[in-house]
């Protein structure tokens, strides 16, 4: 994975390598947190709220987040909206196409646990964490843009605690 898988190994062998990797950890994860490019992936009502968050009043660009249409270049997948059984394989394939280190933010009740369609629905997947690992849940139906921004900052905080070659473990 880019530089991250070779660097820690060589750094540790060199004398005083431990300090280098911890410092490197801080810097690398800080830059990851400061420039999370999110995948433009909205299915239902939360997609409208995602667009409103991208607009001028609650601007995503302030956090350094720009939308990328292709999964290869994005590192945060905001699952905004209801995932039905017909859509589930598509979500799984999109997640697999994303480049490591990748994170998932489940936005809205439907992505967390089926939301208003939890009962009596024969075609809604009860929560996106049944198919892909989710890092941050943002409840609400749809959640307010401030809640979504808070969720993105939470992804940044969680990301700062990880080691840069952590993806092999996960």
């Amino acid at each position: 994975m880019g530089v991250n898988d070779k660097l820690p190994v060589h750094a540790e062998q060199s004398p005083g390598g431990g300090i280098i990797t911890t410092e490197l950890n801080k810097i690398f994860t800080l830059t990851q947190a400061k420039s999370l490019w999110y995948l433009l992936f909205g299915t239902a009502c939360c997609a409208i709220e995602l667009m409103a968050t991208g607009a001028s009043r609650y601007d995503f660009d302030r956090l350094g987040m720009i939308f990328r249409a292709s999964p290869r270049q994005s590192d945060l997948m905001i699952v905004a909206g209801t995932i039905t059984y017909k859509m589930a394989p598509v979500v799984k394939r999109l997640y697999d196409q994303m480049a490591e280190p990748r994170y998932v933010l489940a936005m809205g009740g439907c992505a967390i646990g089926g939301g208003p369609f939890h009962y009596d629905s024969y075609s809604v997947l009860q929560g996106v964490d049944k198919i892909i690992p989710v890092d941050v849940f943002v409840p609400g139906c749809p959640p307010r843009p401030e809640a979504l921004l808070q969720g993105c900052l939470e992804v940044g905080k969680k990301l700062r605690t990880q080691k840069i070659d952590d993806w092999r473990v996960r």
Partner: protein, 349 residues
């Protein structure tokens, strides 16, 4: 004001640092050019980083929002954060992709974007090597980036990328001709193709004898063709987000995508640098040092290209080619006719 002209630094370094160590034989010239190339490469990548940040701030303020604010003062370090993050990304090569073509596409794009800066005069004497076929060399080199886009389109084995690659080929073919013809008008006036000559020919009237005043049509044609060359809206069809998801760079992630991303901004800077050298009198200008004039004019042109991007919708492929062949080309011939007429008739009075 001679001190501020930076040309003397290179002469001084050359005399007492380089020549005694390496000598000015074959090897010496090679080392000298290598150092010059590295300095131009460093300067350009720094400028490209600032352009990326500047584009995001300009677009934000046009759209009444703030743009990057969280990294450094007003998001100054945002592009550094993006670059370092992109280094860490996993480098994915699609399974059925054509590996060699897929690998070499960003490399060619990156190299050609910088190759054009050998002949661009940053200031009085500040030029890597003053070829006497300077402008012809630039027109040849800028088309290489289009070849790399087609390679990217074909190499990533993705239908959208293929469409993006084909579109970039069509666009380049149709906009290369008017661009060359509009520059031909200037070459006719200056009589030589070397960039320094073109700039020196515009230094009359205290440095305001610019070609734009004499060939305004040529300047307009050049700007339109340049937006198409640099793949900027309204001609950004190769990577049209809404139609082709991400156009040719759909399968690129991590460092390869960063090379494409950086090359696009360097291209924009190249195209506006040529515009200033050819039409806006290069580094001519009163009082201020020459390289400062060059920088101001080029950044002005870059700002113009940025404003284009955030105001105009995108053209369709057939409209794009129709506009090039049916409108720009006849106008380019008209411009050459006007320059010929002006040369023969008016300047003789």
């Amino acid at each position: 004001m001679e001190i501020l002209e930076l040309a003397w630094i290179f002469e001084w370094l050359n005399e007492n640092l380089l020549v005694p160590i390496v000598g000015d034989g074959e090897f010496g010239i090679l080392v000298r050019n290598l150092i010059l190339a590295c300095s131009v490469f460093g300067l350009l990548s720094l400028i490209a980083l600032c352009l990326v940040w500047w584009e995001r701030k300009v677009s934000a303020h046009i759209q009444q929002r703030f743009g990057p604010m969280m990294t450094g003062w007003h998001g100054i370090l945002q592009t550094v954060a993006d670059a370092v993050k992109l280094i860490q990304k996993e480098d994915i090569v699609p399974a059925l992709a054509d590996r060699k073509v897929f690998f070499w596409a960003p490399v060619i794009c990156f190299v050609c974007a910088f190759a054009a800066y050998i002949v661009i005069p940053f200031g009085d004497g500040l030029i890597v090597s003053d070829l006497n076929v300077g402008i012809l060399y630039i027109i040849a080199i800028t088309t290489f980036t289009i070849i790399s886009l087609m390679m990217a389109g074909w190499g990533s084995n993705n239908k959208y990328a293929l469409l993006g690659g084909m579109r970039s080929a069509a666009q380049a073919v149709s906009y290369e001709v008017p661009m060359a013809l509009s520059i031909l008008g200037v070459v006719m006036v200056t009589g030589s193709m070397s960039m320094q000559e073109i700039v020196k020919a515009q230094s009359a009237w205290y440095g305001f004898h610019w070609n734009i005043f004499f060939q305004p049509l040529g300047f307009v044609i050049y700007v339109i063709a340049a937006t198409a060359e640099a793949n900027r809206t309204p001609f950004d069809l190769p990577e049209a987000e809404q139609e082709l998801v991400a156009g040719f760079n759909i399968e690129y992630s991590g460092m390869k995508f960063a090379m494409f991303f950086l090359a696009e901004f360097v291209n924009m800077f190249t195209v506006s640098a040529i515009a200033t050298t050819v039409f806006l009198g290069g580094w001519n200008g009163p009082w201020l040092p020459s390289w400062f004039w060059f920088l101001i004019k080029t950044l002005g042109m870059v700002f113009l290209f940025m404003v284009f991007r955030w105001t105009y919708p995108r053209l369709r492929v057939d409209q794009l080619m129709e506009f090039a062949w049916k409108v720009l080309l006849p106008l380019a011939f008209l411009n050459i006719l006007w320059v010929g007429l002006y040369e023969e008739v008016f300047s003789k009075w």
